[in-house]
Amino acid sequence: MKYLKYKILFVFVGMMLFSTSCDDNFAELNTNPTVAIGINPNFQFTFVQLRTSGGRYENWRAGLIYSSMMIQHLAATCGYWTGDKYTFNGGYASSLIDRAYNEQVKDVVDLINTLSTTDVGDATMLGMARIWKVVIFQRLTDLYGDIPYFEAGKGAIDGIDFPTYDSQESIYMDMLNELEQGVAQLGDGGFGGADLIYGGDVDKWRKFGNSMMLRLAMRLSEVDAATAQAWAAKAIAGGIMDSNDDDAFIEHTNGPEGINKNGIGEVLDKANGFGDDCPRLSDTFVDWMNSTGDPRLSIVAVPSANTGEIAGMPNGLDEALLAENPTGTSVDDFSRINPAIVTVSSPMMFMTAAEAQLLSAEAAMRGWHGGDASSHFSDGIALALGSWAHYDPALALDDAAISAYVDANPLDEANAMSQIGWQYWAATFLNEYEAFSNFRRTGFPELTPVDYPGNITNGQIPVRLANNPGEATLNPSWKSAADRQGLGTDFPSHMSVPVWWDK
């Protein structure tokens, strides 16, 4: 018995020794078996591109509910479609900035860091990533003004927890540089098939980069014409997009997961899981297309349920006001968007040759380059009509119809800026962020604001989207950025304060 007692004691002491020295396998235990410590840059670039197309969340709120309504592509009577009447929903207004840094900026900044500080990848990849980063940031600063840029997305890389809000001016100057350098370093290599836009075609990337440069340059036309002119000339000299084959868009598929779907389709595609039935074509859009004999009307709109005719609904109506509306008293008197162009597998447009050519026409009108404004204008319209083939070959307009429309709508020099503005507006249907920004810069098309009770802009079309008060109150550098831009504590009132380039 005594022997047994000692044996137990011995085992016990052995156990103690075992535990005291036991953190040997701890590093292995603390290695997560479901993730990796590095990633193929191809995989990350594909991810960043697809994420830039956006999810349902911000496409619905910032894109459709605010942007598409404010610029009268679409109209809605539903109370929560706040952009139609310039009423306020803070969460909707800030939805893009709420999501973009986490879903787009974080990975593009990380990818650029990997490509530029390690021997992973090649210079062409870095050039493409830099151009793509501008795609992401231009939208953000155009909508929200001063935003974190230089320090953004560097939480893990540089430990920057509260990136400084940079002035829109400094952001634009850097983005233009990034485009120039990004284009300059395109050459051998690149992302190949992992590039969802051009399959790695470097020539198309050059045109895309230059066209982005033109878009950015023209955005500065009112605030700094000389800089705008210099960059526009550089972009055009480098070669801009001039064919529908150059159009920059991402193809989507119906699943298998949400990330694969077109975010606008996720809002509007009733046949595939969802269907917000509020929006109708705005009468501003339909009436303009009717007045110019635009063959796109039958592509973007379907006849109304009640009348069988294509008709646009006025903006600024609720159900009660609709009941007294002379052009129709039911939402079913008006046309829905053609379901074929807003499916979950529809393409998402980022920049089209039509836009590049119309901007080129505008630059020519301003005398910023030697090209012929009329021919760029005609090319732009033709390309805009041609781009609908991307959505569905069945929607493609034949060449005769396109040239008939182009011939019927030549550039009238006396009215050129307005004409270009309307066409740019039509060409950017479903790229609502861009349509909203270009409208603010040029003042075209000439939209008539609505004045609904409870609107936050005194009956004027809003000129920016309000940032998230949650983010703003957390970030110590917000306050000075707000003061610099003339933004007070009342967030709804921010929607009336123009961004830097909007003079």
Binding site: T46, C78, G153, G155, P163, L196, N272, E319
Partner: protein, 1010 residues
């Protein structure tokens, strides 16, 4: 023979009981051994009892040694009780070690299992509310299968867990929350504590301070609850106990909304079906006038008050709990087996909880060896966990928010498929697809889970030499959580539906060995020393399949999903520990105890082999001095017992695994044949991470006066938690929502006082009253940097997106933040050009955690009837009332009546909704309210059948009780909600939004023994 009535010869005995000084003992218990036949002594210490021939008497009195007296051949009983039972009173402490109460240098509170059984809660944690000083229980508004939040002596951790460790029979169990609702909705998937069955509990001991839990090292950060389950006796008898409990509950309707204006907009009734549909949630219509007005479905109905929608929707909940236990044993062994079935039907239609618990406890000893096996198997099936917070699928969101002119029964739709159109899809009643028809949400959505859980331990030990024991213990806690979360086909916001099926397996294993010696070196010096080690290993693995878009309508199975995806998650960690304790007692009056524990953490070890601080030493020291023993006769004789105590300890907390390093993962299933890869961290990984530390100094005393009639326990503590491991909310423009860092210093300073007084005691009536009071002053001293320079960290955000919970330097934990009005010099509200209020600065309005709490328990016994009630009060906290924010937005709140006829300032009558809607989601100041309350928490009336009535039947000790819980809200400063209506058990306390309504319950409890 059917009845066999055995008549023993009986006799009546009488006598008196006095203490050693000759004073009569009033209310001493005199029980005939082995029966429930008994009485208590009267004012003169006298008693009289009829007993069987040859009976033995058990005499007992709190604070005095028990005596057993033979009655044979004795007629006159003069019994003298000796003080000092208390000296031997033991309490179960850390690691399951039984220690003398008088030697403890820290505060413990022990609850009898029986006090948790009568007024039953489905989650046992909720039964603690108001009963223990310093223990703050929040019962969120999440439905019957929901979790509970227990915080002891205030929140110390800036993030992560602030809830205590729960130990059952010496082995820790998982009590983590399995999923809570947040800003964007969700469900409360319950917690681990709900698996503990109240009917199996012998005692529950709350170890509040650091010293009490110091032997648990990093796990003692938030206090420890030690549960000891019932065991079989070794006296050779077989006992059968039966307990049956039936409770009904119904909602407490706190809503006081306007009933004068109906659905509509800008003061007008809807003119068309489309308008009525668009205004399905808008109570900004015309005054109710009884006229016939269109509703969402095109039907015209009277424009008048449609009555009480809540009582139409919410049912009466019912919980039926039955327990059967068998216990027994013999020479050298004892056992107990029990089965409990709990069957709950919740107040939210179609939601149920069904829980079955099987418990076994077997102990044996032979020679120097002893062993024990105990464990429970729990099967818990919960159907339709209610969705909370945000609106999608949340029946609670919709049920209350209907305009006064809409009857919720008109939304029922198809009688065979509630909430549905004839084609089987959701019957929408408004144009916002995300506001779900409540019947559809309750009957067609599914949020079910089944848990199968096994937890228990095997203990083997030997007494190697007198006083020297070696004990080895292996503990297991393993469960799976099988879930099904369905958004049905035809739901307005997801017309093709979606489904997630998942199975999660969690396991914790603890292996422990302890060598202990306790004995007296000489009559004046005693020692109690132990050394031991523990190895803890945990894993957590989840497999899921799901996706969206059912191909075949209404066939809700994963294989039918057009878009399918799979998920897999895995994590594991290990902690190795060694520990030691030494207690020295001098002259039976001074007790000095020291402990130490060293923990090694895998989760703090750099996976890439870099240097890491992965080990910590946790010391404690405590002193207790027994004044009565130590000072002898120099104390007044009214003092039965007095102890002063002081202790200091440092414990800490670790973090989860895989926090170190930036990682990448594959997203989804690729796109167009291209794989998608991205950073998988949502939180910035730290460069290095240290375990947090938590130091506490505790002082206190424990006094018993007047022969146990007055008991006072007082504790004063100062706890400082530093280097908390936190996901600090950082700017989302950094690319990440948060950053994992070691930050800050949080202090909790407080007092706890328990006063327990026997006010009255005579033959037929006793009245005992006890008050527990706790005040905890919390301060977040510093956050990201060591300076107190006004830094803030965001913990939580309301769905209204204009109220937040922050940690603010210099302020108590969980500050409720909101946007104020802009005011002029004289405090008037500034308006914009349209006459609408302007949104001002974000500011703090106070803490969301109550610093002050009082529980007041009274028990009366009148003959065989017992009555007790518990009043529970808390004060000093704020709550953001999102119900009121929506009440303003939708025109339901009473305050929104002002101006509807005459306008407000420059705002026309038709447009006053713009005024209130601006406030609703712009100016949160309006909705931040005091969350003080006084509640009648519990009332119990019990009756024990006199055993002489039970002669000849095989039962004994039959008692019947009636219990009510949450009977009355006696005082409150909130309107339209219960002040305890938070929707989460997370750290961000102080936000309310559309939880399950609070309920009041009444129950009957029957217990009997055979």
């Amino acid at each position: 023979m059917l009845f066999s009535l055995t008549v023993f010869s009986q006799r009546t005995i009488s006598g008196t009981i006095v203490d050693s000084g000759g004073d009569p003992m009033i209310g001493a218990n005199v029980i005939e051994q082995g029966t429930s036949n008994g009485t208590i002594t009267d004012l003169d210490g006298a008693f009289s009892l009829t007993v069987s021939e040859g009976a033995m008497l058990d005499i007992s009195y709190t604070g005095y040694a028990d005596q057993v007296i033979a009655t044979e051949n004795v007629t006159d009983f003069n019994i003298i009780l000796e003080e000092g039972a208390l000296l031997d009173e033991v309490v179960v402490t850390a690691l399951g070690i039984e220690r003398k109460k008088r030697a403890l240098a820290y505060s413990v509170t022990e609850l009898e299992g029986s006090s948790l059984v009568t007024a039953k809660e489905i989650n046992i944690g909720n039964s603690l509310a108001g009963k223990v000083a310093g223990v703050n229980v929040s019962n969120p508004a999440t439905g019957p299968g929901g979790s509970t939040r227990i915080v002891i002596r205030g929140n110390g951790n800036i993030s992560g867990n602030n809830q205590p460790l729960v130990v059952v029979d010496g082995v820790p169990i998982n009590t983590g929350n399995l999923g809570a609702a947040g800003m964007w909705g969700g469900q409360d998937w319950g917690d681990g504590l709900s698996s503990v069955n109240a009917d199996d509990i012998e005692t529950m001991t709350v170890l509040k301070g650091n010293t009490a839990g110091a032997l648990y090292g990093y796990r003692a950060d938030n206090g420890v609850i030690v549960i000891t389950t019932k065991k079989g006796s070794k006296d050779g008898r077989i006992g059968v106990e039966f307990n049956s409990n039936y409770q009904v509950e119904s909602i407490i309707d706190f809503y006081d909304f306007q009933r004068q204006y109906g659905h509509g907009n800008r003061g007008a009734k809807p003119g068309t079906e489309a308008e009525a549909f668009a205004q399905g949630l808008s109570s900004w219509g015309a005054p109710l006038d009884g006229s016939s007005v269109l509703q969402f479905d095109g039907q015209s109905r009277p424009y008048s008050d449609a009555g009480d929608n809540l009582s139409r929707f919410y049912g009466t909940g019912a919980t039926f709990t039955n327990t059967l236990g068998i216990n027994g044993g013999g020479e050298g062994y004892g056992f107990r087996f029990s089965v409990t079935d709990l069957d709950n039907k919740g107040i939210v239609p179609n939601s149920t909880v069904d829980r079955k618990t099987f418990t076994a406890n077997v102990n044996a000893n032979k020679g120097i060896f002893f062993g024990n096996i105990s464990g429970s198997f729990v099967n818990d099936a919960t159907s339709n966990r209610p969705r909370l917070s945000d609106s999608p699928g949340n029946a609670n969101y919709t049920a209350w928010s209907l305009p006064p002119s809409i009857n919720i029964n008109d939304l029922r739709g198809d009688a065979d498929k509630l909430g549905a159109n004839p084609d089987g899809t959701e019957l929408q009643f408004n144009d916002n697809v995300f506001v779900t028809n409540p019947w559809w949400a309750a009957y067609q959505f599914e949020g079910n889970n089944t848990k199968n859980r096994l937890f228990g331990n095997i203990t083997l030990g030997a007494e190697l030499l007198p006083g020297l024991t070696l004990t080895g213990k292996a503990g297991l806690d393993r469960f799976n959580d099988r879930r099904r979360n369905l958004t049905p086909y035809g739901t307005a916001f997801s017309t093709l539906g979606g489904l997630t099926e998942s199975n999660r397996e969690l396991q914790e294993v603890n292996l422990e060995a302890i060598l202990r010696y306790a004995g007296d070196i000489n009559p004046n010096i005693g020692i109690d020393v132990l050394v031991g080690g523990n190895q803890q290993k945990n894993f957590d693995e989840t497999l899921s399949v799901g996706g969206g878009n059912f191909n075949i309508p209404f066939l809700h199975t994963a294989k039918n999903l057009a878009n399918q995806s799979t998920g897999y998650g895995f994590s594991q960690f290990q902690v190795n520990s060694v520990f030691a304790m030494a207690e020295i007692s001098l002259f039976n009056s001074l007790y000095v105890t020291a402990t130490g524990r060293q923990d090694w953490f895998s989760a703090l070890t750099d996976p890439n082999g870099g240097p890491s601080e992965n080990t910590v030493f946790y010391p404690s020291i405590g002193v207790a001095y027994d004044l009565v023993e130590g000072l002898g006769g120099s104390l007044p004789s009214i003092v039965d017992f007095a102890k002063v105590r002081a202790s200091w300890a440092e414990v800490g907390g670790a973090t989860g695994p895989y926090q170190l390093g930036l990682n990448y993962g594959i997203v989804g299933q690729g796109h167009l044949g291209q794989p998608l890869g991205s950073i998988s961290n949502g939180t910035v990984p730290p460069i290095g991470l240290r375990p947090s530390t938590n130091k506490e100094l505790e002082l206190g005393f424990d006094v018993r006066l007047f022969k146990g009639k007055v008991n006072v326990d007082f504790a004063l503590y100062n706890r400082e938690t530093t280097d908390g491991i936190l996901n600090a909310g950082i700017s989302s423009t950094s690319g990440f929502g948060s950053k994992r860092v070691n930050v800050g210093k949080v202090t909790n300073k407080g007092v706890e006082l328990l006063v327990d007084v026997e006010v009255l005691r005579n033959n037929n009536f006793t009245w005992r009253t006890s008050v527990n009071f706790a005040q905890n002053n919390n301060e977040v001293v510093s956050l990201l940097t060591e300076e107190s320079d006004g830094e803030e960290i965001r913990l939580e955000e309301s769905r209204t997106r204009n109220a937040y919970i922050h940690l603010v330097e210099g302020q108590p934990y969980s500050q409720v933040m909101g946007f104020a009005y802009v005011r002029d010099g004289s405090g008037g509200i500034m308006l914009d050009d349209d006459g609408l209020p302007l949104q001002g600065e974000l500011q703090t309005f106070g803490t969301g955690v109550h610093p002050t709490s009082i529980g007041w328990q009274n028990s009366f016994s009148i003959g065989d009837v017992g009555i007790s009630f518990l009043i529970d009060a808390k004060s000093g906290a704020k709550i953001y009332n999102a119900t009121n924010a929506y009440g303003y937005f939708r025109g339901l709140h009473q305050a929104t009546l002002e101006g509807r006829e005459g306008g407000l300032g420059t705002v026309a009558a038709a447009d006053v909704q713009d005024y209130y809607q601006r406030i609703a989601f712009g100016i949160s100041e309006e909705f931040i309210q005091d969350a003080n309350f006084v509640k009648l928490r519990e009332l119990i009336v019990s009756y024990r059948l006199p055993n002489d009535l039970l002669q000849g039947v095989p039962f004994k000790d039959i008692s019947l009780s009636f219990a009510g819980r949450n009977l009355a809200l006696l005082a409150s400063s909130t309107d339209n909600i219960d002040p305890e209506s938070t929707y989460t058990t997370g750290n961000g306390q102080g936000l309310e939004m559309f939880g399950v309504p609070v309920t009041r319950s009444f129950g009957l409890n029957l217990s009997a023994k055979f």
